[in-house]
Amino acid sequence: MKKHGYGIGNMWYGVGNTAAPNPSGAFVDFLDDGTVIVLSGCADIGQGSSTVLAQIAAETLGVGLENVAVIAADTEVTPDAGATSASRQTYISGNAVRFAAEKAREQVIAQAAERLNLPADNVSLKDGQIWHQDEPTGTKIQDVIAQCRSKGILTLGQGWFNPVTTKLDPLTGQGAPYATYAFATQVAEVEADTETGVIEVKRIVAAHDVGRAINPQNVEGQIEGGCIMGMGYALLEEVAVNQGRIENPALSTYLIPTALDIPEMFPVIVEDEEPSGPYGAKGVGEPALVPTAAAIANAVADALGIRLYDLPLTPEKIVAAIRAAAEESELGLNG
């Protein structure tokens, strides 16, 4: 028999390394043809950080994304950005790039204010132009940079950011281990087959507070990927150990979901801007998978009326739990 169930999982999760300094640095060079070069040690391992860092530099310097070249994770030339881990790169390296870009921007604005005879506070950079308050002045950014060069001024900035944390009190365990936190709620819908024990995840709704989505499509991709990884954790991933030896040390035997196992997913981006983040952004990498297994396990409990505490929820465990519950209720009736 197939039984339907719904479950919810909630989480909050610290962004950055726990109770430890984890700074990131960046250099930004604004060239006289309007090109921006960003140097950051941030390794893009597929999560899209180079795109996000380019967007932050482009936004700060008022140029199009196509004008930004990111040189990332090359230890020969890039400053340390720490690890691509702890859901930290958008928040921490994003800030480093923003600060570096702001330094380069200040040089351009100072020159533009002098040239146009405007107070620097009212000058900004947007769409490749110098703006005065809400109006474009018609002066191109690259002409101002050229003017800087003619005077021997480089439009170059460096920046770094380290989230404010404290060590944890060794006696109480208390402190402020993270500068900011991500929050998420996911709801899973499952169909449980009481005979085959197969749990089919039908749908997942995943709402994530990311501060501000610098790249919404990228955030959705991270959320969907995280849900799939969390689903593997809930239903498939199992290390079989026999006398200290792992018996399934290959992807042919240690199973994760395939494209055919993926449920319908509905990512919901919640934007509650983080004051200390670049343009309000936080992180989403790990949070995307944290609540998924809990939501699925709760949905299974809802479907079957039986709560399991041991992941993964394999068909064998489901069938055994249903059988045990049936035997128990029979004993209860007889006794």
Partner: protein, 291 residues
């Protein structure tokens, strides 16, 4: 990886058979290699040399005749899945082919290799056993045609002689109006080894089952027919009660077949679930009906 003393890629069956006859058991035929090559690489199998059959085009033909369909042993799962005559006349066979591994494996693995590998969980074999398929084995001395179930001798074992190559699989057509289907239970929806598989063929006249063939896989050394389950269906009216009866008989049959194996407690329950999925599909719809 692994080293071989000899590797041949003949372009005709005659040359392949001659090489095999002369090799004194030292050469093994290589079909798609999706099972054999990983086994060689992991040193689970040792063999001094291979005769790669991939260039023997005469083994790739699928020929539909009125009284039988002849499937060349080197036909891939993908070819079988997509071959229109098979889809129309033996839907369970294309369903079984579609359930194998991944697109990459289905483009490489072959029906002959699936038989020769003799896995207890072989997807195609369960369907072919239900179809009462025959296997043609050729050697340089001649050929013989044997019912598939007679050449399976246990997990990973067959009665194929060292100098023989599976050349064709022969299937007689089902009576018009027959319905057939295949279902597989794996740990996930692709790239999974069958925990159980079930193939059912029914001939139904006026809602009454006149003939039933049922084969089960991954419940013993090789997939096999279940006369008990066939008897449960034959002569009965199609109904939801019959689905329940079949499911509980399938449970008994799995217990009988698996004996004291540890997987029995799960599989005796699981077989009911796959039976409840497959049988109503065959009972109710026109899906899987032979044209």
């Amino acid at each position: 990886m692994f080293e071989l003393d000899a590797y041949y890629q003949p372009e005709s069956l005659a040359v392949a058979l001659e090489l095999l006859a002369k090799s004194d058991g030292k050469l093994r035929p290589l079909a798609g290699g999706t099972d054999l090559v990983p086994a060689l690489a992991k040193r689970k199998i040792h063999c001094p040399g291979l005769i790669d059959l991939s260039a023997v085009s005469e083994l790739r033909a699928i020929i539909a005749r009125e009284h039988e369909i002849q499937i060349g042993s080197m036909s891939t799962f993908a070819q079988i899945e997509e071959f229109l005559v098979i889809r129309n006349r033996f839907p369970l066979l294309s369903e079984a082919a579609a359930s194998v591994g991944s697109p990459q494996i289905r483009n490489t693995g072959t029906i002959g290799g699936n038989i020769a590998n003799a896995s207890p969980a072989a997807d195609m074999v369960t369907a072919l056993i239900a179809l009462e398929a025959e296997v043609r084995l050729d050697s340089s001395e001649g050929f013989r045609t044997v019912p598939l179930q007679n050449i399976l001798e246990g997990a990973g074992k067959t009665h194929i002689r060292p100098q023989e190559i599976i050349t064709n699989i022969l299937i007689r057509p089902l009576a018009p109006g027959s319905r057939s289907g295949y279902i597989k239970l794996g740990r996930r929806r692709a790239l999974a080894i069958a925990r159980l598989n079930l193939a059912v063929i029914l001939a139904v006249h006026e809602n009454k089952i006149s003939l039933a063939r049922v084969a089960l896989g991954a419940v013993g050394p090789n997939p096999c027919r279940s006369s008990a389950l066939e008897t449960t269906l034959e002569g009965q009216q199609i109904s939801s009660t019959l689905v329940d009866t079949f499911a509980s008989e399938a449970e008994k049959e799995v217990v009988r077949m698996l004996g004291s194996r540890p997987s029995v407690s799960y599989k005796q329950e699981a077989v009911k679930g796959i039976a409840r999925e497959l049988l109503p599909r065959l009972f109710s719809s026109t899906e899987g009906v032979v044209a």
